[in-house]
């Protein structure tokens, strides 16, 4: 502890006040476990402790642009921002007093309050309210309440007026006479005692009062449907329902939002209401699928809050097709796979309502969104989407091309075969393989013909052995006489020219026959099981083993 001399307290007070600006910034910027945060607070606390070694309190007078201690200016600033004096002054604080024994926790709470963003106009609580709620024991403040009322002199005017309104003549003597003449006496009343049951009931009431009251408000809004009369009433009511949906969603209460929509649908469908009223109520459903609400849904999904799948599904079920575009929008913005899964499921449910609207998502610049939309279209399974899907067959991203080929394979339809045939010559092996599988999925004669033709094409022999094997595998899916004959013929085909390529072809055929199965081909395969070409021999043996195993 340093020795005290006259004027020291002013220096110390100045130091404390000026440190407020620094502490305010630190507390705002750093988490409470950060060493900078901890050190700053301790430093500030020690300054107070040092001050209280000599003085019992630190009383600061607050003016608009300066702070005074013992009539001395200890802080001054003419800035609009970062002006600690103005910061207190504008909320009506005129004096701040820190008392000896100021606990560390209390100082920390104080600093946390004053570190709230300067732009706090949007908040519902001002500094005085926040101080009040904390109920500080060692920090006191004096406020100027005048600015709370529009009329500074209201009190004296009101008192004069209310007194002036006194009847010219009261009947006070009549009262006295009546009192003397009537004999009725007062009963001895007493305080009503409380019982254990009363207390239990009160505790229950207080518990229930702490629960969310939004469902209660929603009940009231539904009552108001039947109490309202004018178009304006219904317009306002629709607005209130919208606010309730938005509020519920913003708090992650998807269940309540679903309930609102469910009851609205029930009311629209089941109650004898005028068309105009129903139209207003439908506005709420449209709003629930707007960018605003779906954006909030996205935030909830990404926040990691527990979102029950059932509630979310139910909410989506009541939405209209206008929700498709906002859902597609957030699909590209969501951060977690979990959240995207929810949205994909929602779009699978909603997409049915307007497949073409959903297909617009295929034009999205983000490849993963396009792939998700293709997946959604495949799950919906509506052939109307094929034309749009075909356009993405040439998408720049291979992952999209693979997805669309798979989808086209599942959907089939006009133009698909042509596209798949073209994809068999794609530069990417994965795309070619996907096309093959898609053609196999389609399973039509035309699809078979495409594969057969491709195998018979001259350049086919130059493809990798593994790829050729895939083609034959795909062909085996048909397993009809044409395919079997083709495979047997290929198996038997020997050639003096390009022998290695020919063995590859025969090995593929053997492999495919193994997939086709049937003991009738065993004698033929057995003929080649000891062939000199290792690749061919192993394929034949593999096929035999497979067929025998299947038997």
């Amino acid at each position: 502890m340093t020795d005290y001399s006259v004027g020291d307290d002013i220096k110390k007070a100045r130091d404390i006040v000026q440190s407020l600006t620094k502490s305010k910034k630190i507390v705002r910027m750093y988490p409470e476990n950060n060493p900078i945060y901890i050190n700053t607070l301790e430093e500030h606390y020690n300054k107070f402790k040092d001050f209280f070694y000599y003085k019992d309190d630190l009383k600061l007078l607050i003016r608009q642009n300066e702070i005074l201690y013992e009539s001395e200016v200890v802080y001054t600033s003419s800035e609009k921002e970062d002006n600690i004096a103005l910061f207190f002054f504008k909320d009506g604080i005129r004096e701040l007093c820190f008392k000896k024994g100021l606990p560390f926790d209390e100082l920390e709470s104080f600093l946390r309050i004053i570190s709230i963003d300067d732009n706090r106009n949007e908040l519902d609580d001002d500094i005085v309210t926040l101080f009040w709620e904390k109920d500080f024991q060692k920090i006191q403040h004096v406020v100027d309440e005048l600015f709370l009322t529009d009329d500074e002199d209201y009190e004296s005017k009101a008192v004069t007026e209310v007194k002036d309104k006194s009847e010219k003549e009261d009947n006070i003597f009549q009262a006295y006479e009546d009192a003397l003449s009537e004999r009725e006496e007062v009963k001895d009343a007493s305080i009503v005692p409380l019982s254990d049951k009363d207390l239990q009931q009160l505790l229950q009431e207080l518990d229930e009062d702490g629960l969310d009251k939004t469902p209660k408000l929603v009940d009231i809004l539904f009552e108001m449907i039947f109490l309202s009369e004018t178009a304006g009433d219904y317009d306002d009511l629709a607005g209130s329902f919208m606010a309730a949906v938005e509020f519920a969603v913003s708090r992650g209460d998807i269940q309540l939002a679903s309930k609102i929509l469910f009851r609205l649908k029930q009311t629209i469908d089941g109650e004898a209401l005028a068309d105009d009223v129903k139209k207003q109520l439908r506005r709420v459903i449209i709003f629930s699928g707007s960018d605003q609400v779906i954006g909030l849904i996205g935030e909830v999904l990404d926040s990691g809050q527990e979102t029950q799948e059932k509630n979310f599904e139910e909410f989506t079920r009541y939405l209209d097709k206008n929700a498709i575009v906002p859902f597609m929008k957030i699909l590209g913005e969501l951060k977690t796979i979990h959240a995207r899964k929810f949205v994909i499921d929602a779009l699978i449910q909603l997409g049915n309502k307007d497949i073409l609207l959903l297909a617009r998502g295929l034009n999205d610049s983000r490849w993963y969104v396009v792939r998700n939309i293709i997946y959604i279209l495949r799950k919906i399974g509506d052939k109307k989407a094929v034309d749009y899907l075909l356009k993405t067959v040439t998408h720049g991203d291979i992952r999209v091309r693979k997805e669309v080929i798979m989808t086209l394979g599942e959907l089939g339809g006009t133009g698909v075969l042509q596209a798949l045939r073209d994809c068999l010559d794609d530069v990417e092996i994965q795309v070619r393989t996907a096309s093959l599988k898609a053609l196999g999925n389609i399973g039509s004669e035309a699809a078979k013909r495409i594969i057969l033709n491709k195998i018979n094409d001259k350049p086919f022999k130059d493809r990798d052995f593994e790829e050729k094997k895939e083609f034959y595998e795909a062909l085996a899916r048909w397993n009809d006489s044409e395919v079997r004959d083709f495979l047997i013929e290929t198996l038997r085909q020997s050639s003096f020219f390009g022998r290695s390529k020919n063995y590859e072809k025969r090995a593929c055929a053997a492999h495919a026959l193994g997939i086709c199965g049937g003991k009738d081909v065993l004698p033929i395969l057995n003929k080649y099981k000891n062939d000199g070409n290792k690749e061919f021999r192993e394929s034949v043996r593999g096929a035999i083993k497979r067929i025998e195993h299947d038997k």
Binding site: T129, Q137, D150, K163, A179, E205
Partner: protein, 468 residues
């Protein structure tokens, strides 16, 4: 940390008050040597002696309806409500104000105190008996209950309360006009106004409640809103709501009648009874209130609470009242509180319920009759205790042939408020002399006692003239 110590101290003090209540309750049932009594005594001794080691003296004092330990008010704890309530009643009954523990307690000391306490319940001078019996004890002493928290001469609290009240009325007037003209409303200001009221209710409950007796019929809407807010906060603080919730309730109450701003003033201020069509309009104000509140600001918890109360404040406990609803779910807790306050103020103000205002005590007895049907019986119990048997503004005839107005309720002795005399014993007009009905003569008899209550409205007595 000092703060944590403070919290601990408060907790211990709370537990001591609770334990004293437990000891006294148990002792009234069992013999002093019964293990049920000795075990609770032992527990209390441990508590007190450990605190005495730190504080040296522990003074437990009853002021108003609250206990203080070494001048620090014991904060409300719902779990101890019954025991606190019991102790307050038993202390008041015996005119016992303080028990001061000065040294290490022994079980026999406590037993002596208990015996004196029980015996005093049958005595005509209960405090004197306790005082005499514990006189020789070194470890504890007692003091008589102080008559009033606010002494007769203390003008300051009254001034502050008056200022708070009119600030609130002025704010309400301003805010309603702003809403009417479609301007934005600053909720921060509302909070500040109500926070001051909450503080005053916690410190000077009866003074602020007293302000609600002043009725200004030209500014009825604003005064009524503030009165309902005050009465609701006062009731809710007895129910154990914390400061933040009390503030919310106060704001909600201010706006409970906001739907009435759509009803023409000619109807609201009509001197005669309403026609059927006018009643039809009046019955719409709860719904209009919801609409106005929901349009006022973005939906949040406070707006939701306000809207619910606006809709339900005329729905009775038994679901009668208005507006008629299809689904009869329970009436919200805050709505029931505000409904009580609203009915009481409306009855005593004579605007909607009846063209003739009722005297406060008549209104209260009518409300007691409605308890369990129209009004929540549990809340009604608290409300009666809060307003008192003779609310401020009641016209009373005293046994001294003096006529007066109740100026300030007495929470300790409900039947003995402070009264402003308006006619003296000679039947002459007088004004300004406030007497305390707890005053006794040398023989220990009360100087004045209320004989009967009368209706000040019936005799056109303007309360403001006397009470402001």
């Amino acid at each position: 940390m000092i703060n944590k110590d403070d919290i601990e101290l408060n907790k211990t003090a709370k537990e001591i008050v609770n334990q004293l209540s437990v000891v006294l309750r148990t002792s009234q049932i069992h013999d002093p040597n019964n293990v049920a009594v000795t075990s609770v005594i032992d527990k209390m001794i441990v508590m007190i002696n450990s605190l005495i080691a730190v504080e040296r003296v522990i003074a437990l004092e009853l002021k108003g309806d609250f206990f203080y330990v070494n001048d620090a008010r014991i904060r409300f704890a719902l779990e101890y409500l019954l025991n606190f309530d019991f102790l307050v009643r038993e202390f008041k009954k015996r005119e016992l104000g303080s028990v001061i523990f000065k040294d290490k307690l022994r079980p026999d000391d406590i037993k002596t105190f208990i015996a004196a306490f029980i015996a005093s319940g049958f005595s005509s001078s209960p405090f004197d008996l306790i005082s005499e019996k514990v006189f020789d004890l070194n470890s504890l002493s007692v003091e008589r209950l102080k008559k009033n928290i606010v002494e007769s001469g203390s003008v300051e609290p009254r001034k502050m309360v008056k200022k708070t009240y009119f600030n609130a009325v002025s704010y309400t007037k301003g805010v309603i006009n702003k809403i009417k003209s479609g301007e934005k409303v600053n909720i921060k200001k509302a909070k500040r106004v109500i926070e001051t009221m909450v503080d005053q209710i916690l410190e000077q409950e009866q003074l602020l409640i007293g302000m609600t007796a002043i009725k200004d019929y030209d500014e009825y809407t604003y005064h009524h809103s503030v009165n309902v807010s005050i009465l609701s906060i006062a009731l809710a603080q007895r129910l154990g709501l914390n400061k933040k919730l009390l503030t919310e309730l106060g704001i909600v109450a201010i706006f409970h009648d906001i739907g009435k701003m759509e009803i023409p003033n000619e109807i609201l201020n009509k001197p005669s009874n309403f026609s059927d069509d006018e009643w039809k309009l009046i019955r719409k104000h709860p719904m209009w209130g919801v609409r106005a509140l929901l349009k006022l600001r973005k939906l949040d918890e406070l707006t939701i609470k306000s809207a619910i109360v606006s809709f339900e404040h005329h729905l009775n406990y038994d679901h009668t009242g208005y507006p008629r609803v299809k689904k009869k779910s329970g009436i919200d807790f805050l709505s029931r509180i505000i409904s009580l306050a609203d009915q009481y103020d409306a009855m005593t103000s004579s605007r909607v319920y009846s063209r003739i205002p009722m005297s406060p005590d008549k209104a209260l007895s009518l409300m007691v009759e409605r308890s369990g049907t129209q009004l929540d019986p549990l809340l009604m119990k608290f409300f009666v205790n809060m307003v008192g048997i003779f609310p401020v503004g009641t016209l009373v005839m005293l046994n001294t042939r003096e006529l007066g107005l109740v100026y300030e309720s007495n929470q300790l002795f409900g039947a003995r408020p402070r009264v402003m005399l308006i006619i003296d014993k000679e039947g002459k007009r007088t004004q300004g002399n406030v007497v305390d009905l707890t005053e006794k003569n040398d023989q220990g008899e009360y100087l004045r006692t209320i004989l009967k209550t009368m209706d000040p409205n019936k005799y056109r007595i303007n309360l403001a003239e006397y009470l402001l």
